[in-house]
């Protein structure tokens, strides 16, 4: 892992078009400003992992189960 030390107001670039700025430090909290192109996904880690994990589980769906659900659906 690359480790850098920055002061408030300083920033860094990731590639040509992702810029991260340190905006504020309040006790244990740090506010970051992130500028990135629209096609780059920027998410808090826990949110990213939650959606990623859900997508991985969703990819396990089986056709027989879907057919059973469709039948159930029609009845209701």
């Amino acid at each position: 892992m690359l480790i850098l030390t920055r002061k408030i107001g300083e920033g860094l670039f990731i590639g040509d078009d992702i810029r991260i700025t340190i905006l504020e430090v309040r006790g244990k909290q740090i506010r970051l400003g992130i500028e990135a192109p629209a096609n780059v996904v920027v998410l808090r880690e826990e949110i990213y992992r939650r959606i990623q994990e859900e997508n991985l589980q969703a990819a396990e769906a089986r056709g027989v189960d879907v057919t059973q659900l469709a039948k159930l659906w029609k009845r209701e």
Partner: protein, 158 residues
């Protein structure tokens, strides 16, 4: 990636791919939907098609073309929650600049545990927005406490 495709025939330029769920399917170029960025966890795959599950079924398959083993069951969230309207969705639709609002299709991905379909959940936190006219879409993340990534669709017991 390309190895999953047969050489397109000159007249139709349809692609023939062998999928896990549907066997060999023919795909016309105008059916292809580009998800950019790709689904979280599957960022390396971009090309998908929508396949209707069955007549009168509320489900569709979002079949990946770049990985024919990969497919997701999706549905219109309004089938599950008629009031589903996360504010981020409107903003993203605006950003995607559709020719007409009717071109936009909102889908949610369903998680169906194998062998336990009753336990199906819908990911209301990560809807997929597709511009059907331009054939482009993306998964967005809705951070709204009303919309869970594991919304239980069916009651515990029928």
């Amino acid at each position: 990636m390309a190895k999953n495709f047969s050489t397109p025939s000159a007249e139709t330029s349809t692609m023939s791919i062998t999928t896990r769920h549907f066997g060999v399917i023919q795909v016309r170029p105008d059916q292809v939907i580009l998800l950019e960025p790709g689904l979280l966890g599957f960022g390396q795959y971009h090309r998908y098609i929508l396949i209707e599950h069955q007549r009168e079924s509320p489900f569709l398959w979002l079949q990946c073309l770049d990985n024919p083993d990969l497919a997701f069951v999706v549905t219109d969230p309004l089938c599950l929650l008629p009031e589903y309207r996360p504010p981020q969705l409107a903003r993203v639709i605006e950003e995607m600049k559709p020719e007409s609002p009717e071109d936009m299709k909102i889908l949610v991905i369903l998680t169906i545990p194998p062998g336990r379909p009753q336990e199906m959940t819908a990911n209301l936190m990560g809807p997929v927005v597709i511009d059907l006219k331009r054939r482009r879409g993306r998964q967005i993340v809705v951070e709204d406490p009303r919309y869970s990534h594991k919304y239980r669709v069916l009651p515990e017991k029928v």
